[in-house]
C-alpha cells in the first residue's frame, strides 16, 4: 500500500500529472474574485473566508476525475484489483495521494491568497487549521465520487453534480470557522464539528468507494 502511495505521488509529480495545476487554479480563482465584486477592501475582507474555501473546494473538485481515470484506461486498476491489496486500501491510498498533491499545497497557499483578499489578521490560524482539517474530507468524498463515475465516458459534470452536495457540510463548517475567527468569535466549535465530519468520511468512504470500484470492475 505504501508502494501504491509512492507510485501515485511519483506519477503526479513527474509525469505531468497536474501537481501544480490545482494550485494555479486556486490562485486564478482568487485573482478573479476582486474583478467580480470590486476592489473595496472592506467587502473583500468580509467575503474572503467563503471565497478561499470555495476556491479550495473547486480546485479539489477539478482534479478528482484524474484519481482513477488513467489507471482505469490502461488497465492498472484491474491489475491492482487482482493483487492481494484490498480495494479499500487502494481507495484510502488514492485519497491520501490526492490530498498530498492537492489539499496540502492548497493549505500552504491559502494564507498568501488570504493576504490578497485582505483577510483580517486573527483569521489566519483558523484558515490554516480549518483547511488542514477539512481538505482530507474533500479528498475522501471526492475519491468516492470518482470511484462511482470511473466507468462513465465524460463523467466530469456528473461527478460535480454528485460530489458537490456531499461537500456541503464541510464547506459550511469550514467557512463558518474562518468567518468566526475573523470576527473574533468562538471558532473552535465548527472546527471540531468539521473534524468529526473528516474522521467520519475517512472511516466510511473508502469502503463505499471500494464497493463502487468492484461494481465498475465487473
Amino acid at each position: 500500500m505504501i508502494g501504491l502511495l509512492k507510485r501515485d505521488l511519483a506519477l503526479a509529480i513527474r509525469a505531468g500529472g497536474g501537481f501544480g495545476l490545482s494550485l494555479a487554479f486556486f490562485l486564478i480563482f482568487t485573482t478573479l474574485v476582486p474583478f467580480g465584486v470590486g476592489p473595496q477592501t472592506q467587502v473583500l475582507a468580509e467575503i474572503a473566508p467563503g471565497i478561499l474555501w470555495l476556491g479550495a473546494l473547486l480546485a479539489c473538485l477539478l482534479s478528482l476525475d484524474r484519481i482513477f481515470q488513467l489507471d482505469w484506461e490502461d488497465g492498472t486498476l484491474d491489475l491492482i484489483a487482482t493483487s492481494p491489496v484490498p480495494l479499500e486500501g487502494l481507495a484510502a491510498m488514492k485519497a491520501l495521494a490526492h490530498w498530498i498533491t492537492t489539499g496540502l499545497p492548497l493549505v500552504a497557499a491559502a494564507p498568501m491568497l488570504g493576504l490578497l483578499l485582505n483577510l483580517p489578521g486573527p483569521a489566519y490560524p483558523w484558515l490554516v487549521a480549518a483547511l488542514a482539517l477539512g481538505t482530507p474530507a474533500l479528498s475522501a468524498i471526492g475519491t468516492f465520487g470518482a470511484a462511482l463515475t470511473v466507468g462513465i465516458k465524460r463523467g466530469g459534470l456528473l461527478l460535480s453534480l454528485l460530489v458537490l452536495p456531499l461537500y456541503m457540510p464541510t464547506l459550511i463548517f469550514g467557512a463558518l470557522c474562518v468567518t468566526r475567527g475573523a470576527d473574533g468569535l468562538d471558532a473552535l466549535t465548527p472546527l471540531i464539528l468539521m473534524g468529526g465530519i473528516t474522521l467520519g468520511s475517512l472511516a466510511i468512504l473508502p469502503f463505499a468507494a471500494a464497493a463502487a470500484l468492484r461494481v465498475n470492475l465487473r
Binding site: L162, P165, L176, A208, V215, R218
Partner: protein, 243 residues
Amino acid sequence: MASIWEYANPRKFMATSAALLPWTAGVAALCLVTGLVWGFFFTPDDFRQGSTVKIIYVHVPSAIMAINAWLMMLVASLIWVIRRHHVSALAAKAAAPVGMVFTLIALATGALWGQPMWGTWWEWDPRLTSFLILFLFYLGYMALWEAIDNPDSAADLTAVLCLVGSVFAVISRYALLFWNQGLHQGATLSLDREQNIANVFWYPLVITLAGFGFLFIALVLYRTQTEIRARRLKALIAQERMA
C-alpha cells in the same frame, strides 16, 4: 404464510400491483379532491394570514412525501444491496422522479406563500436550504441512473450513492441548523402534541396527507410496472437478435 419476498418475483409483483393500482389511484383522487376542495373553499381564513394559509394543504403533504420518498428509496436500495431483488432496485429508480417533483412542489408553494407573508420568495433558512439540497440529491441520483448503460451496475452504484447520500443529507440538515437561524416556523404537525392545529384546518389536512401518500404509492407502482415492462422489452429484443 406468504412471505413479503414473494413480491420480489416480477410476475407476482405485476399481478398484485395491477390489482392494487386502480384502488390506490382511486383513493388518492378521492382524498385529494375532497381534501383540497374542503380545504380551499370550506375552511375559514386565518385571521392574520388571510387565505394564504390554505397553501398548507399542498405544501405540508408534498414536503412530507418528498422526505418519505427518499426514505423509501433508501429502504429499496438496502433491499437491493442485501437481497439482490431487481424489483426493489427498479422501485427505487421509479420513486426518484416522483420524490423530486414533490420536493419541487414544496419549494414552489413555499415561495408563493413566503412572498406575501415573509416579503421574500426565498430565504437562506435551514429548512428551505435543506430542501434545496434534497432536490440536488434527487438530481444527482437520477443523473447517475441515466449515465450508466448496464442496468445491474447502475442499480448497484445508485444504491451506494443513495446510502452515502442519506448520511450526508442528515449531516447537512444539522450543519444548516448550526449555520443560520431560521425564518421558517417550527413543525406544524407533531405526534407529541394533543392538538396540532384547530380542527377546522386539521381534518382537510389529514385527508390531503392521505391523498398525497396514496398518490405517491400509485405513481411508484405505475412507474415500477413501466420499468419492469421496459426491462422485459429489452430482453425480448436481445432474444430476437440472438435468434
